[in-house]
């Protein structure tokens, strides 16, 4: 009961706490279901109790926060159910649907007393996270990126992300190095946590280290095993799955569990499930290389041997054919030659006889022909002689006649010619006679001379000159009284 001091009712802290406890107890008399995010589990190993930190966030900010109590027995029971159903323990950062009562303790204050947790709700939430990771990777177009790599023909150099002491790593090495075919692998371990909350970032760190030396490796193998099938939800982590998808080398996984495939395994180049299977997968790659090589060796050997045998056979058969053909040909030619020589002898004999006959006939023909020819020639010559004689007489007579005719013509013509010439001569004589000056003088003409020269023009004489004029009988000497000169030219 409160004390009364100066009219004030004063409660002790315990009384207030008790009051709150009572009020809350009356108000929240029964349990109820609450959903919240378990930010921290706050498991205390020593006591086995958990004091989870529950929050509700809106747009990234905490809008409610209450501490909770999860007592040891409840924790063990609930955790077992989680491991069974989710393959995940109760852990930080999961969403839970739980049955609780309000608990108020005067010493420890307000808390939610967790009586039960529904693993199906958390499972759904984890499943949702996985789906969200897948969705984001697909949306970014990186989901299938690692599968697009080409696995080298011989994935011989393996960067292994595992735990050195794990059973998975041991199994992997045993299968890989103990193979019956003397296949050699080179493995280099990049140690990492492989399950639980820290695994995702640890694996990413090792992937980044491998990236630095990626040229030394053909493939990355993530190997886990022997740690139980719990704590694998880290492989659905968006950042890890993305790092695997975008890794520059093929990533193969052997995480070893029986539950649904995680996103990391889905985006990996290949998921072999267990470390043993992964080792067998790599050996199979070697087989894929080795078997064709062996097969090639077998086929080439077989083929080469077959080819040699077949070529030998061909040559043998050719030799046989050749020998047969050669012999046949020789035989054939031999008999042909024999036949030919027979024919030739016969032909020669026949020919000789024929030619002899021909010769005989020719001789006779020639004899006869020669006689004939001689006779013909003789008669031709005789003919010719007769002809010549006849012709020459005829010619002689003919020519005589011509000569006689010509003689007659000559005498007639010569007489005529002489007569003609005589006539011509008489005319000329008459003309010449006419020209005689005596005859001229007879007709009354006279000739005047001066100094012995005939005067033909008046200007040849001058008055006083003595001139002599000749007439038919006698001459006259006279003195010139006057001379008349021609007007212009000399008068003739």
């Amino acid at each position: 009961m409160p004390e009364k001091i100066d009219g004030k009712s004063i409660f002790s802290l315990y009384e207030v706490s008790r009051s709150i406890q009572k009020t809350l107890g009356e108000r929240y008399s029964s349990s109820f279901w609450v959903k919240a995010e378990m930010n921290k589990l706050n498991y205390y190993k020593h006591s086995g109790h958990c004091y989870p930190e529950l929050v509700e966030k809106k747009d990234g900010s905490v809008i409610a926060q209450i501490r909770a109590n999860l007592w040891r027995a409840d924790y063990i029971r609930i955790n077992d159910r989680f491991l069974q159903l989710l393959k995940e323990p109760l852990k930080d950062g999961i969403k839970i649907l739980f049955e609780a009562r309000i608990s108020f303790d005067p010493v420890h204050g307000l808390a939610l007393w967790i009586m039960d947790i529904d693993p199906a709700f958390t499972l759904g939430d984890l499943e949702a996270e996985k789906l969200e990771t897948i969705r984001r990777l697909r949306e970014e177009g990186v989901y299938s990126r690692n599968k697009m790599h080409t696995m080298p023909l011989l994935p011989q150099r393996i960067a292994v992300i595992s735990v050195e002491t794990s059973k998975g790593w041991a199994d992997f090495g045993k299968v890989l190095h103990g193979n019956d075919w003397n296949y050699t692998f080179f493995c280099y371990l990049f140690p990492s946590l492989l399950q639980g909350d820290q695994a995702a970032s640890a694996i990413i760190r090792q992937l980044n280290r491998i990236r630095k030396v990626k040229d030394h490796f053909d493939v990355v193998a993530i190997i886990r095993g022997g740690g139980g099938d719990v704590g694998l939800s880290c492989y659905n982590n968006y950042v890890l799955a993305r790092a695997i998808a975008l890794f520059p080398l093929p990533v193969i996984t052997g995480i070893g569990h029986a539950t649904n495939e995680t996103v990391s395994e889905m985006v990996a180049f290949s998921n072999a499930i267990t470390p043993t299977k992964l080792a067998e997968y790599l050996i199979q790659q070697f087989h894929n290389f080795s078997v064709p090589v062996q097969e090639a060796e077998r086929r080439i050997t077989e083929w080469a041997q077959r080819k040699i045998v077949s070529e030998k056979d061909k040559v043998q058969s050719l030799i046989r054919s050749f020998r047969y053909l050669a012999e046949n040909t020789v035989r054939l030619h031999y008999s042909e030659i024999r036949n030919l020589s027979g024919s030739l002898k016969q032909e020669v004999k026949f020919r000789m006889k024929y030619e002899k006959d021909n010769l005989q006939v020719s001789r006779q023909v020639i004899g006869k022909s020669a006689g004939n020819l001689c006779r013909q020639a003789g008669s031709a010559i005789t003919n010719c002689a007769a002809h010549i004689r006849k012709d020459s007489q005829k010619q002689l007579v003919h020519h005589n006649l011509i000569v006689r005719q010509l003689q007659q013509k000559l005498s007639v013509h010569s007489r005529l010619a002489v007569k003609e010439k005589l006539l011509l001569l008489k005319n000329v004589e008459k003309n010449i006679d006419n020209m005689n000056p005596v005859n001229v003088l007879k007709r009354g003409y006279s000739i005047t001379l001066r100094n012995g020269k005939a005067v033909r023009s008046g200007d040849e004489v001058n008055p006083g000159d003595i001139i002599h004029t000749t007439v038919l009988s006698g001459s006259i000497t006279s003195i010139v009284q006057q001379s008349i000169k021609p007007d212009h030219e000399t008068e003739t």
Binding site: T184, K212, F289, A296, K307
Partner: protein
């Protein structure tokens, strides 16, 4: 010295020889040469199956010295 033949090239060349042979494209003249080549390729391939040349020390050195490379 001839550049070293990668096992991928060796493997492919071997396959092509086998395919040539099976399609009858190799004459008896080429026989000896091809078989010799095939034997060499087979040797390279088989060697590769049973030997590796990676050196741990080189990897360790590069891990220490190479700059961090982000995706």
């Amino acid at each position: 010295m001839k550049p070293k033949l990668s096992y991928t090239d060796a493997f492919e060349e071997l396959q092509s020889i086998v395919s040539d042979i099976e399609q009858g494209e190799i004459s008896v003249d080429e026989l000896s040469e091809k078989v010799k080549r095939a034997a060499e390729l087979i040797r390279i391939c088989k060697n590769k199956l049973s030997a590796t040349e990676e050196d741990v020390n080189t990897i360790l050195k590069e891990l220490d010295t190479a700059p961090d490379e982000e995706e």
